[in-house]
């Protein structure tokens, strides 16, 4: 039912109904805001700019949500994350402060994470071995590609790939998404 409403809202957005975009904003801003804030290490100015780009993308391109490809929230967050990554990559290219970058990598914990966080995925992630957790932070939240991480960690790409495989398996297990045997 909820998906159906989101699909309908997105259809209205594609037809340029401004109030449908506003409705999407009302429904998902809390999620998107928290997500982007984490991505930007709590930088409000960057967060605002990214969120503007997310809604601009929803409004101006004919990005069609296809319910058969998964839930609306996943789709929306995939778009949001892609924009975060593009934004941060452009920024990195601009600054090119190698040293600074290195410092950032040394400490994957960020401002937002230091607050008390008790949701299931956080707990599940904390049960992973350090190397797997670091990989997820670099890949998912810092926007490094698998091959960039291989270079940073001075390990073969294949090792990084299989580590991600293990990490996702582990998360699934800790989240109890596994079928009960």
């Amino acid at each position: 039912m909820k998906e159906k409403y989101d699909t309908e809202l997105m259809r209205l957005v594609n037809e340029k109904h401004g109030h449908a975009l506003e409705e999407l904003y009302n429904r998902y801003i809390k999620l998107i805001y928290s997500f982007v804030m984490k991505f930007c290490n709590g930088n409000e100015e960057k967060t605002k700019e990214i969120i503007q780009l997310v809604f601009l993308r929803l409004w101006t391109t004919n990005s069609h949500y296809d319910p058969s490809q998964g839930s609306f929230v996943n789709w929306l967050l995939t778009i949001t994350r892609n924009i975060c990554i593009d934004y941060l990559r452009k920024e990195k290219r601009k600054t090119q402060h190698h040293q600074e970058e290195h410092e950032e990598i040394a400490d994957p914990a960020n401002v937002i994470e230091q607050r008390v966080n008790t949701n299931d995925i956080t707990k599940a992630k904390n049960k992973l071995p350090t190397a797997q957790r670091k990989l997820i932070d670099l890949l998912y939240w810092k926007g490094y590609s698998l091959s960039e991480i291989a270079k940073l960690e001075q390990e073969p790409l294949g090792t990084i790939k299989s580590r991600l495989h293990q990490a996702l398996k582990g998360l699934r297990k800790h989240l109890e998404l596994e079928d009960i045997k």
């Binding site: 401004g18 928290s34 601009l56 698998l146 998360l171 998404l177």
Partner: protein, 240 residues
Amino acid sequence: MRRDCDHLIPYIANELKECERMAFVEHLKNCTECKKEYQELSQAWHALPFDYTEIEVPESLKGEVLGFVFDHKGKSGTETFMAKMSKLAIMLKSQFTPVSISIVAVLLLAIIGLGIANVQEKNHHAENIPIEILTAIPLKAANQSHPGTNGMAYIVQQESEKNLVVQVHELPGVEGSQVYQVWLLKNGTRENGGIFKPDENGSGILTYQLAEGQTFDQIGITVEPDADSIQPRGEKIAGS
């Protein structure tokens, strides 16, 4: 394990080039092993974004985001129209105390709704034509079983054209062919002012183009069994 199967992880991490991605989508259809793995791993991947702490969203963000979007320079007339609208809203906002921020939000929404309706219905590109809000009329609940219903109506002028914008919140839901209908009362007679359906949160918006010289004394909103009422047949839910 075939060579193609190696693409599973970069596929999940969204790192394949478009041609590789398409090839892998094909592969997924035929490789039962990858299909099973994909289902399992992508569940975990899609759980990752929820690893955050909920943060209060600043109230000013909505205006900044939607204003940016509708103000964005593009080819279509909608956006220039929107540019004007968001500027108007920002101007109004600076004149209000923080308490009336929600009124501005409602106003902005009403304006956005109007802008869209305007451009869509007439495909008329409103460039550099000022828009003026002539009147704002508060709407109150008229039915004891739904005392929370509230809203605002505006008469907005652009060039010689006047539009009525009605926005109502906390409306009871409608079923089947039921609709809400706006009635404009003038000297005891009721004229149709348009119909609308509320969204799932019970909010509804309507823009209605007033005929030249058309005036009215009061606004009434009723719930009607279908969209064909010439005179009200259902209960009154809200009014001025």
